[in-house]
Amino acid sequence: MSTTRHSTGRRAIPGSLRFLGRALRTLWSNGKARTGLIILGLIIATAVLAPVIAPHSPTATTFPPYRGPDSVNWFGTTGNGQDVFSQMIYGARVSLLVGFGAGAVATLVAVTLGLVAGYRPGIVDEVLGFVTNLALVVPALPLMIILAAYLQGRSVWTIVLVVAFTSWATGARVIRSQTSTLRTREFVTSAVFSGERLFRVAFREILPNMTSLVAASFFAAATAAVLAEASLEFLGLGNPSTVSWGTILYSAQQQNALLTGQWLMVLAPGLAIVLLMVSLTLINFGVDALSNPRLREK
């Protein structure tokens, strides 16, 4: 089977890469998703090229503190005399990292639990379903706030784990119900009869049929993670020495930036968060349209 696939492929491109390329092409054909991909691409480029774009070091305390926007410090300076514009550029890295990191971990948990619960009705499904419902009912942000307050280690990874831990449940429920409808289809039965193991049936036969669901829950979790990270850092639960959009908002709030005329210090990071979340939401519209032909644009 795999040898024929290799011989028909013109070049030796791995199947997963080709699949990704096809998915991107289909997304690109959707107007909303295209806008989202372009915005996301710009933000990723900013994060990667941060040392080139940023005019100053984001952490150097070389400027007079509490400066309003001027020609040297375009967005003003913090109370420690750091350049806010450079912090904005570097901050894209943390938001992307937390968004994609937490989104990936949450999706991994959601897919695993959802597949197992949907494929194994009975006691396993009951137990996993109970855990999922429990996680759905506890309000996410208050739980995150309390977890982050308990976990004293203040690093970006703490936030990634806390956010991932609290945002897998919706995806798990959606994937569980889809798995349980696919479980009784003929191709799954034939795979089971041909002697394939549970793990292989679940991940190689069932999972590829719900790629769009998995992608949708990834982008939803990533969007929630970006917001959650900003909220936790705004509350002062992040690491204050990390340069991120959330910590800029935190220090703006600490130094009453709005009242002292440093309104860009509040406006800019918030708008950046909005742009990143809008781009992820727009991409998710495209993913929705992939799985539901009725939502496609004519």
Binding site: L136, P139, I145, A149, Y150, T223, G236, L259, W263, L275
Partner: protein, 262 residues
């Protein structure tokens, strides 16, 4: 009976004895939360219902005119406003409408010097204080209802009974509201209970920004003071209110959908 009662008073959660909070040492945690809970119940309850009604109507409108200007403008607007971090929008509104133009009070749930009562003057004062937090929450939570309703509408509009209703020559208003929207509403109602979790989450930071006297503001204070007894009790209260809300929504669902009545 007697023994049961006694065990109750010794217990912890059953008697709402969470110990003493570090932030408000003169009161029990239960009293502190009891004073704050009505503020949040009214604020979050009212804004959620407002956001649900406005968002659902916009979603019906967008779904009915799918692919045309009203649809794209509503979708783009809702995407944008739905991405606003609630606390950030709160800060901006606070700065513009309260600090710069002075149309609304800057902080708190009522004017300093007045004490909470049910008099008309106090209620109108409290209402004026709640406008900005409520506006923040309505704007940031509305988009979920818009998207949910729009997508449900588009799915329902593809059903045969809608085509049949149109073919019968019913007015498009009747088809949109009585045939399509009524059926498209059901998944949105189911989501209503679960959505309260995210509204409560947004309310925590918004109440913190506006120094509102609700339970969200309390969590804000508890986090700043590392007040773990208060935090634990608050998480329990949030979760219990979610359960009650989901229960009420389930009861409502029975009224809306005759199919689940038996």
């Amino acid at each position: 009976m007697e023994r049961h009662h006694q065990r109750g008073t010794d217990g912890n959660i059953a008697t709402l004895r969470f110990g003493t909070s570090y932030s408000f040492p003169s009161q029990t945690v239960a009293q502190t939360i009891g004073n704050a809970l009505p503020w949040t119940l009214v604020l979050v309850g009212a804004t959620t219902i407002f956001a649900f009604i406005i968002g659902t109507l916009l979603g019906v409108y967008a779904g009915w005119h799918r692919g045309r200007l009203p649809d794209s403008s509503i979708t783009v607007g809702a995407t944008f406003f739905g991405a606003f971090p609630p606390f950030w929008l709160g800060l901006l509104l606070l700065y513009l409408l309260a600090f710069k133009y002075g149309w609304f009070p800057i902080k708190g749930g009522y004017s300093p010097g007045t004490s909470p009562s049910l008099s008309l003057s106090f209620l109108s004062d409290a209402l004026r204080h709640s406008v900005l937090p409520a506006l923040t929450l309505v704007i940031t939570t509305m988009s979920g209802w818009v998207f949910g309703m729009r997508n449900n509408m588009i799915n329902t509009l593809g059903e045969d009974f809608v085509t049949f209703a149109e073919a019968n020559g019913l007015r498009s208003r009747t088809v949109a509201l009585r045939y399509a929207a009524r059926n498209a509403l059901l998944p949105n109602v189911t989501a209503f209970g679960l959505s309260l979790g995210s509204v409560v989450g947004g309310a925590v930071l918004v109440e913190g920004v506006f120094s509102y006297p609700g339970v969200g503001g309390l969590l804000f204070i508890a986090v700043t003071n590392h007040d773990f007894p208060l935090m634990q009790a608050l998480l329990l209260v949030f979760t219990l209110s979610m359960l009650v809300a989901i229960f009420i929504v389930d009861l409502l669902y029975v009224r809306l959908d005759p199919r689940v009545r038996r």
